[in-house]
């Protein structure tokens, strides 16, 4: 770690040695440093799982909450203080499985947060069961005859819901991932970055298998092209394109109309609702006055 890493953490890391999660951790810190942010300006939010431990390994504000609930928590934090740079960094099981309903509605709300999905296509911390993104047919200790349902296509779901920034990154490509994260954080509104993160303990393929299949999005890809973005988002198995798949002009983020009235400061620092305002509400309980 370079000495000018403002986000360096001294917390003991619990990941398996060599886990590609380390690559995501490095890319997140590099992106935050690149943007010139300080740790107190950043809030990392996660659920539960191996990926969800990431916030502990980056020096910043942390809300490591319940399994599946990172998105509503991050939305609450963002409403309370939009000046914070809020990132959700959690796994595919957490964000697409346990928290799938919140994912759908977060896309609709478009809060100004960045959502980093560590997609290892399985549940690592509970020892290798299928996740919503596990390919059909994969055999696990729980899916003993192979997974019998199709994987969730959440990147495509994001495109369909007009998420204004949808990217696929690779935990094996630090420079590329850092660049995507910088762009995602700068982009106003919900930015989704799904990161291919091979699991070296429970996964069925070696890291090299992934390296062979990850290719950059074609240089002529226009991220504004919804149809092309959708087909890239629907890719699975043989070739996975890495890069920004879909980008649209920024839309007003969640709570924009409220913020237009109260300004962008933390809710905690707004002036208190006045005593006169409160008294006026109680006064509506009084008997009606006779009409003059």
């Amino acid at each position: 770690m370079t000495s000018n890493d403002a986000f360096a953490s001294h917390v003991e890391n619990q990941w398996c040695p060599g886990c590609p999660n380390f690559g995501i951790q490095t890319a997140v810190k590099r992106a935050l440093n690149t943007l010139g942010l300080a740790p107190h300006q950043v809030c990392l939010v996660s659920g539960i799982g191996q990926a969800a431990k990431l916030p502990h390994y980056v020096r910043a504000n942390v809300f490591n909450g319940l399994h599946g609930r990172a998105l509503p928590t991050a939305i609450g934090i963002h409403v309370a203080n939009p000046q914070l740079t809020t990132l959700v960094t959690s796994g595919d099981g957490d964000l697409y499985g346990e928290g799938g309903n919140h994912f759908l509605h977060a896309l609709r709300r478009n809060p100004d947060i960045t959502v980093v999905v560590h997609n290892n296509q399985l549940y690592a911390l509970t020892k290798g069961q299928a996740s919503p993104t596990t390919p059909r047919g994969a055999v696990t200790r729980l899916q003993v005859h192979g997974v019998e349902v199709d994987p969730a296509r959440m990147l495509a779901t994001a495109v369909i819901h007009d998420c204004t920034f949808v990217a696929r990154g690779s935990a094996l490509d630090l420079d590329g991932l850092t660049d995507i994260l910088v762009r995602a954080i700068k982009h106003q509104g919900l930015s989704l970055v799904e990161v291919v993160q091979p699991c070296i303990t429970w996964g069925s393929h070696p890291v090299s298998w992934y390296r062979d299949r990850l290719v950059p999005v074609p240089s002529d890809h226009d991220p504004a092209d919804r149809d092309r973005a959708l087909s890239l988002a629907l890719e699975s198995a043989d070739v996975l394109h890495i890069g920004v798949l879909f980008q649209q002009p920024e839309r007003p983020p969640f709570a924009a109309s409220y913020r237009a009235k109260v300004g962008s400061g933390p809710l905690a620092s707004l002036p208190r609702t006045g005593r006169d305002t409160i008294a006026a509400h109680y006064a509506t309980w009084d008997p009606p006055r006779p009409k003059q």
Binding site: V62, P72, V79, K261
Partner: protein, 554 residues
């Protein structure tokens, strides 16, 4: 002493509530204290519903199970609710029927005097007021206020139709000894408990509310959403789990935050109740109770979630549980809920129920609480390495919210060390953190108010209740004392931690609750070792009233 009980009954969508509200306001204008509660089916149109209005000279927040006068908007309502009318009571209906005393064809009157059937409810309100002996003027004032947002023609038509209904009924009751009710100079405010909670939350510094619509809790967030001047950001969440986690996120970010739901929604929130305990982040949750299990009776009332509220959440952690008994009490408890949740950095639960949600109480004048008292002051001296969960003698750590200063704040649902990072140090840190959290609970106990005692000095028997039944129990006590029984009452509003309290000696105890199993009774037995002689419970979905309590106790 005037004490009249009126039922206004009809189908959903027929305007039962509009008529009731207008007549309640008319008596308010006339200087009387009113109490109104509503019972209705879980549907938008049709079925049966009633608005129950009690008219007195002094306020009493208690329902009456029987009626002196029934205003039936339709013939079915007259037939169905006549068994609730006292033998010497009267029934007003649009057409003749069994026991109908006053016939006013509301729609015909509306067409004749207002030109449209839509004004029929004003004819009904006029007929009811005449039958009760209320002059036309206060009703006119109430109608003008109720229709103030409509054009002059609509107001004038409603007033004309009400006057005609008043004349119609007045002619029929004149010979039967109806005496005009004299005007009084009292000016009571007419208050609703959930409105009181919404306003008091804003007064307490609440800035964020997320909720999922669920009867009978929804009025709290809709009031805040409709009144932006109160300054509370509101969001309809996709489910109750999202609602409570959004509120916790907002709270972690420094905003006082709340959510509200009913028992089923609270069941979904329970994991996050435990989370609030673990991450020591304040939140206020209102549970507006309705009968369960499961979907139960969505629009009816119950007190079935006391033990659920007290026990909800896995693991061991402190929490605050209050139950409101009326709007004024709700104002106080809402403020205390926010302040104590803040000071002790945990969850505060405020219990209400459908009865409170859909009742109007006359109150002298709403007390204006002070502003937020204890918004955690920024810790004066934060060490270079801030520790969110610093171990202290009180168990309370100096709390910074996320983004408050340059110190990163680390919140973790895992067991954590003082800095907030996860730990598996079972030798020291885990027991220390358990003790820290529980110490807050021990200190919290000292903040709890003892129950209210009423006529306990000479009581041989005490009726013990909690929450919304206070008015009914106190009325039952008055009635029993009037017939020579030395009865008193003890009413709990602070339910967890239970306050230190010495039960009066030489009395025998009965609990009175809106449930079948005696949840308060089991709590008191466990916590105070107090012997409970008997348990009076109501669990049909209707609120407890004095008549029922007296009958059950005798």
């Amino acid at each position: 002493m005037i004490d009249r009980s009126v039922f206004i009954a009809g189908a959903a969508g027929e305007g039962v509530q509009t008529v009731g509200d207008v007549v309640a306001r008319a008596f308010q204008v006339h200087g009387y204290a009113v109490f109104a509660n509503k019972e209705f089916e879980s549907r938008i149109r049709g079925g049966r519903s009633s608005y129950r209005l009690r008219i007195r000279e002094t306020p009493l927040g208690a329902p009456c199970g029987t009626a002196d006068v029934l205003l039936a908007i339709n013939p079915d309502a007259a037939a169905y609710y006549q068994s609730d009318v006292r033998e010497d009571g009267w029934i007003i209906a649009p057409e003749t029927g069994d026991r109908v005393d006053v016939i006013v064809p509301f729609r015909d009157v509306a067409v004749e005097h207002g030109g449209k059937e839509i004004y029929a409810n004003s004819a009904a309100a006029g007929a009811l007021c005449a039958t009760l002996g209320l002059p036309l003027e206060p009703l006119t004032a109430a109608l003008r206020a109720a229709f103030a947002r409509y054009n002059d023609e609509i107001v004038a038509s409603n007033v004309a139709v009400a006057a005609a209904g008043h004349r119609h009924a007045g002619a029929q009751v004149a010979s039967r000894g109806v005496r005009q009710i004299p005007a009084r100079t009292a000016r009571y405010a007419l208050a609703n408990t959930h409105e009181a909670i919404a306003i008091a939350a804003a007064a307490a510094g609440c800035r964020f509310m997320a909720a999922y619509p669920m009867s009978p809790s929804t009025d709290i967030i809709t009031y805040l959403a409709a009144h932006e001047d109160l300054g509370v950001f509101t969001e309809q969440a996709e489910d109750e789990i999202a609602a409570v986690n959004m509120a916790l996120g907002a709270s972690a970010g420094g905003a006082r935050a709340m959510t509200a739901t009913s028992g089923g929604g609270f069941a979904l929130m329970v994991e996050s109740v435990s989370l609030a305990g673990m991450i020591e982040t304040p939140i206020v949750i209102v549970i507006a109770q309705r009968p369960g299990p499961a979907t139960g009776l969505p629009t009816r009332t119950a007190q079935e979630d006391l033990l659920f509220a007290i026990r909800a959440g896995h693991g061991e952690f402190p929490r605050i549980v209050f139950a409101a008994s009326d709007p004024q009490d709700a104002i106080c408890k809402t403020k205390r809920a926010f302040d104590l949740a803040d000071r002790y950095q945990t969850v505060a639960i405020l219990l209400t129920d459908q009865f409170l949600a859909d009742s109007l109480f006359s109150v002298d004048s709403p007390m204006l609480p002070d502003g937020p008292s204890s918004q955690s002051a920024p810790p004066s001296s934060i060490p270079a390495m801030y520790a969110r969960y610093a171990l202290t003698e009180t168990g309370i750590s100096p709390r910074l919210y996320i983004g408050q200063t340059e110190h990163p704040v680390i919140l973790d649902s895992d067991e954590h060390d003082e800095t907030g990072h996860l730990t598996e140090d079972l030798r020291f840190m885990r027991p220390a953190m358990v003790e820290k959290r529980l110490e807050k609970g021990r200190r919290l106990k000292r903040e709890m108010h003892p129950p209210q005692m009423n006529h306990c000095e000479d009581a041989e028997a005490a009726l013990i209740g909690w929450g919304s039944t206070r008015g009914a129990i106190e009325e039952a006590v008055e009635r029993l004392r009037a017939t020579g029984h030395r009865v008193g009452s003890i009413h709990f509003g602070d339910l967890w931690p239970l306050p230190a309290f010495d039960f009066p000696e030489n009395a025998r105890y009965w609990t009175v609750e809106g449930n079948a199993t005696g949840q308060l009774a089991s709590l008191l037995t466990a916590e105070y070792r107090v012997p409970i002689e008997g348990r009076i419970g109501r669990y049909d979905g209707l609120p407890l009233d004095a008549e029922t309590i007296v009958k059950e106790w005798s």
